[in-house]
Amino acid sequence: MSGADNVVWLGTPAFPEAARGALADTRLRANLRRATGTIRDKRLKAAAELHDWEELRERAAAVKRRTLRHLDHHLLRLEKAVTAAGGTVHWAADAADANRIVTYLVKATGEREVVKVKSMATQEIGLNEALADAGIRAYETDLAELIVQLGGDRPSHILVPAIHRGRSEIREIFLREMGEWGSPAPEGLGDDPRELAEAARLHLREKFLRCKVAVSGANFAAADTGTVAVVESEGNGRMCLTLPDTLITVMGIEKVLPSFADLDVFLQLLPRSSTGERMNPYTSLWTGVTEGDGPTDFHLVLLDNGRTATLADDVGRQALACIRCSACLNVCPVYERTGGHAYGSVYPGPIGAVLTPQLVGVENAASLPFASTLCGACYDACPVKINIPEVLVHLRAEAVEAQRRGRFLPTVEALAMKATGLVLSSPTRLAAAQWLAALGARLVARDGRIGALPGPLARWTGTRDTPAPPRESLRAWWRRSKAVKGTQGHASAEEEAAGDRP
């Protein structure tokens, strides 16, 4: 992994530890609960308006499945169409590659600053930092992304990067930082959302009119026409996509769709799933360059950065169908309590827990597949029907395998799993263990309940009483009181012995 690779934030602790800080931050939890609750309700209403919602999900999932199976073919078609329309296509194998290409393209214009449309792909490769290293300043123009950038912060949500910030915090950031980056915040700025939005508008307007180069991501690209699409809510993206002379788009290779007509289903699903709106306020589509209209120079950087490896995994590849709507984040009870930073990755929440380990290798994000109760709310919410719980348990198995390969001594957990596996695969051993458990419990239980225990058991017993196991397991009771010859069925010598033990 190169230093510029931003998929995982180096130095971030594993999820359980990172979550601890977030849980202690009551303001953060209140912000998250309010924001995710609001979006969740809006999404449900917006989805319920369409009588064919389930059908749309199925169609979208099918298009994605089909496209991913022949990704190479569609990407070559896209390259051909973009080139024919006057654009230039570049292929980037990894983050360093992509950053090198974009830096080179910006430098070639002689400019030293760029405006940016909010983009997960450029977050993923750490483009802003790479440009800064080359002496180029990148200005985020999405309101939430601007708040994150000015605050020297990291995004904690895919769609609402500043979801963890309250309005008074935003006011403080604007007053403190805007002057450092351009026009300062107006004096006497209050924390009313309208006032804050107006301050951002004034700050950004100057940049839109000055900058000659823009960098964007892409929500979709149609292989047949070479059309690239960006959807957004504020119009700042539209400014970046139309005003500058040079437009550089960095796009993950999985964003390609076979045809322009496929946009139909996704432009219905995406806004309803992400913001609960029927349509995106701004949907910008462009095909190469057009004389006298918009940028005169267009570059499309196609980014792999772990995607081909992900594609090779039959179960895991479905994560590449993600359209970055964030519906899974907003319904996830774990995300709601920890926020995005705990995931230590540019992709947080349930989709991050399956995408990040695949992009960077499961051994580099081993705690993420376990950052879920497998409750399945994410799968139900996903507009393209990514079976996130299925991928999570698949990746858990890979994480365990990776650990087995990398270690000479098994972990405590592996030993425990081995031991319980032995017990649970034999009725004799299980009966003996039940007998022992009941005996042991009687030594520590009071009034039939086990209270707080020391050591590793404190993780469970610190907050919950546990009923003491009863003296007689069901199997023992059955043998004693119910078993009649002839109804035993399948009893073996081993099982006969099982009943005699306790």
Binding site: L23, Y379, T420, L430, R464, E472
Partner: protein
């Protein structure tokens, strides 16, 4: 019908009362219940924690032990889901064709209790009586893996004397999640706190669910806080009758 009881290792060890309730209930409805003594565990803990090779012997054993019954009933949504959805994954990855065939044969005969009652046996009023205020938590795997829908609620509504009250944010996970409760115990506790707040807001005497694992987690918290709210597995409420409301 010849119904096999898959008690699950957890209920077998910790909650034999639930197994006795399932038996009493099904026998009251006129069915024969058998308990294959060779049964052990569905392997869910190992599977969900990533220890797949260790799951294989349990999958193999389950397919052998429960072959040939009209129906297999499990008083656990998550264990029933494991058997129906994931045994074939383990069989395909580590087993052989014979095991895959055996799994495919057994899996469709396995039902969670409310599914068995409503879909297979065709009853919603099981003649139960439970004169208490009860709130119901639909466990995630029953809700989203098995899609039991409102079957448990239909069964509960038919119980005589019951005062069934709605649980706010019922379909939000309680934070148990198997080994999640240990690996991410702090997040688990935060989720538990919210679930308990909602349970307490109902004024219920008992919290009911179809999975004793979730109930152990929520009930353990309620007990530690001395709330006085008890837990009852769905089977225990459905098995209770007038004069015998265990």
């Amino acid at each position: 019908m010849r119904i096999a009881l898959f008690i699950t290792c957890f209920n077998d060890t910790m909650f034999p009362d639930t197994g006795r309730a399932v038996t009493r209930l099904l026998e009251r409805l006129g069915h024969t219940v058998e308990f294959p003594q060779g049964q052990t565990c569905c392997g869910q803990m190992h599977f969900n924690t990533g220890y797949r090779p260790e799951t294989l012997p349990m999958v193999r054993r389950f397919a052998e032990v429960f072959a040939g019954y009209d129906a297999v009933v499990a008083p656990s949504g998550s264990c029933a889901g494991m058997v129906r959805d994931h045994h074939r994954v383990v069989a395909a990855q580590y087993g052989d064709n014979a095991l895959t065939e055996a799994v495919e044969e057994v899996a469709p005969t396995v039902y969670e209790l409310s599914e068995l009652l409503v879909d297979v046996l065709g009853v919603t009023d099981v003649g139960a009586c439970f004169p208490h205020r009860v709130t119901y938590h639909p466990t995630c795997h029953s809700l989203r893996m098995l899609r039991v829908g409102d079957r448990p609620l239909r069964l509960l509504r038919a119980v005589k004397g019951i005062d069934l009250v709605e649980l706010p944010a019922a379909d939000t996970c309680c934070g148990f999640g198997g080994t999640f409760a240990l690996k991410n115990h702090e997040v688990s506790n935060a989720m538990l706190a919210d679930k308990m707040r909602h349970v307490q807001s109902t004024g219920a005497e008992f919290l009911c669910a179809g999975d004793n694992s979730c109930l152990t987690h929520i009930g353990g918290g309620l007990s530690r806080l001395r709330t006085g709210i008890g837990t009852r597995h769905l089977a225990e409420i459905l098995a209770a009758t007038e004069g015998d409301t265990r």
